[in-house]
């Protein structure tokens, strides 16, 4: 069950699969995304509440045919230019959008984790989103007659997370901001987790988020695997990198040059980090 990152991606991520790399700002699995890019996976249905830089890179590198999401910006900075280019100019490929609100997508992940067919919420009222997305419908409560919003369950073929630690049996512990990581993990058919540390025994934490070994398909030891996102207790978010991404990704040429130099020409995540100024910090 413990694999190298290259083997985990090769074994589990098929062309055309639906893939959720979750982690809400925190613990974004960048190393796994870069390996998917290196292995030239194509035609993926990408699922993430906040596409963030991680999907900006995958979309710009031509990995995606469809995106399920709820907020597609560079947090606190501005646009995701590669996402915009795909939507506005179909470059490098057209991108089908399945667009939600955070509350709607959270409900869809919860339904997926519970293996229910749909999630329900008081949401989307007075918005144009339902008119543009057939996946946002309504349902009548059988008890009160109230009309509620309904969204189909999200059950990704593969969910990939980054976490602080796993034990040798494959139990995974996450702390800090967890977003919808737990729901995305339990909703998936296959779960891959990259971790900072593999330990003999997880620290006792009765109410912490733990993903038990029998729902985890593969553990990958990958220190720094969330960088330039962060791992609470290990390293902080590289906010300067997020700011600089705005100019890297603004133009196709500068984006492609950066991806070639720092991702495609690097053999793994450690080499990626060593190719950046952060390695010398």
């Amino acid at each position: 069950m413990q694999l190298t990152l290259a083997d985990a991606i090769e074994n589990y991520v098929a062309h055309g699969a639906s893939v959720a790399l979750e982690g809400f700002t925190h613990l974004i699995p960048f190393a796994a995304a870069h390996e998917i890019i290196r292995q030239r996976k194509r035609d993926l249905h990408l699922i993430r509440m906040t596409p963030d830089l991680v999907y900006d890179q995958m979309i710009g590198m031509g990995c995606a045919r469809k995106l399920t999401f709820s907020w597609g910006g560079n947090p606190g900075v501005g646009s995701l230019h590669r996402l915009r280019d795909a939507v506005e100019h179909h470059w490098p490929l057209p991108l089908e959008l399945d667009e939600h609100s955070h509350a709607g997508m959270a409900a869809a992940f919860c339904a997926g984790a519970a293996r229910l067919p749909f999630g329900t919420l008081r949401g989307y009222a007075g918005t144009d989103l339902p008119a543009r997305n057939a996946n946002i419908r309504s349902v009548t409560c059988p008890f009160t007659g109230e009309t509620l919003a309904a969204v189909p369950a999200i059950n990704p073929d593969i969910t990939i997370l980054h976490a602080q630690r796993a034990d040798r049996e494959g139990n995974v512990a996450i702390d800090g901001i967890v977003g919808a990581a737990r729901e995305a993990a339990l909703a998936a058919r296959v779960l891959i987790v990259t971790v900072e540390d593999i330990v003999d025994e997880l620290p006792p934490a009765m109410n912490a988020i733990v993903l038990p070994h029998w729902i985890v398909s593969a553990i990958v030891h990958c220190p720094g695997g969330a960088y330039p996102s962060y791992a609470q207790g290990h390293y902080t978010r590289d906010n300067a990198f997020y700011r600089q991404w705005d100019s890297v990704a603004r133009e196709r040429d500068s984006f492609m040059a950066w991806m070639h130099e720092h991702v495609l020409q690097q053999r793994d995540h450690r080499a990626f980090i060593e190719s950046l100024p952060v390695a010398r910090a």
Partner: protein
């Protein structure tokens, strides 16, 4: 102390609207600055919730993203994101929700999705995020947005979140529970809905700003309340706290990351 910027004035004007002890659903940018300024001045018991799941957070520096580690480290507790939207926001446990937008119309409806047609936008904006349900469920919504004829528009390109819909009670008739956009804080002053028509009208101006300047910045014929409040400039104390917060933030965001490899 040097003269303040309009951003600082907006931030201070928004902060002054927040009562001690209120529960605020905070967005990134000016709302985050306003909420933390309130916490560091007149409202030490304000409860700040960020949608990443941090509750009762007391950041020493402003976060760049909605999920910076600073928010978790200084929170009273951190919950999964679905809990925030279901058990807190949808359950009616948020007093004030802050929103921004690329476009706002005269009834406080907001667009943060696209400029141009949805299927072939000239500008693809980030999208909804938490906004539609914050707009629905918060007891009051405060909007912070700089005014121009491109942003305060006659007709939205897309309605991402509901204000008062077409006004005259349309929102409450549709069964939307929250109170809607009670205040729009902008860079000339403040708009609030008329009690009957629910059309946004000018209710407050920054000291020294004219009604004409406000009208020129709004893309619909702006109506003016019978009495217009004057918003005093930031006090030296408010400016000192805000600028110190901004300085700490700039320093923290430029700090190199150490990766323990």
């Amino acid at each position: 102390m040097s003269a303040c910027t309009r951003d600082e004035w907006m931030t201070v004007a928004a902060a002054r609207l927040l009562q001690d002890g209120c529960v605020c659903f905070v967005g990134i940018g000016l709302p985050s600055a306003a909420c933390n300024l309130a916490r560091l001045t007149h409202a030490p018991r304000i409860v700040l919730i960020y949608e990443s799941g941090t509750i009762g957070t007391r950041p020493d520096v402003l976060p760049l993203s909605i999920g910076d580690g600073e928010l978790a480290e200084t929170a009273a507790y951190v919950v999964p994101l679905p809990d925030i939207f279901s058990y807190y926001l949808q359950a009616g446990r948020v007093d004030i929700g802050f929103l921004g937008a690329a476009q706002i119309d005269r009834h406080g409806n907001l667009n943060s999705t696209v400029i141009g047609p949805y299927d072939a936008p000239s500008t693809r904006l980030p999208g909804a995020g938490g906004a539609p349900e914050i707009a629905m469920h918060a007891k009051q919504v405060f909007v912070m947005a700089k005014a121009s004829r491109r942003s305060f528009v006659e007709q939205l390109d897309f309605r991402t979140s509901a204000g008062y819909l077409d006004g005259h009670g349309a929102r409450s008739r549709s069964g939307v529970p929250g109170g809607g956009p009670r205040a729009v804080i902008t860079d000339f002053g403040r708009l609030s809905p008329h009690p009957e028509s629910e059309e946004l009208q000018l209710v407050a101006l920054f000291d020294g700003v004219s009604v004409e300047e406000a009208r020129a910045a709004v893309g619909w014929p702006l109506s003016v309340a019978d009495r217009i409040e004057t918003i005093a400039p930031p006090t030296p104390h408010e400016l000192e706290i805000l600028r110190a917060l901004d300085a700490r933030t700039r320093e923290a965001h430029a700090r190199p990351v150490h990766l323990p490899l």
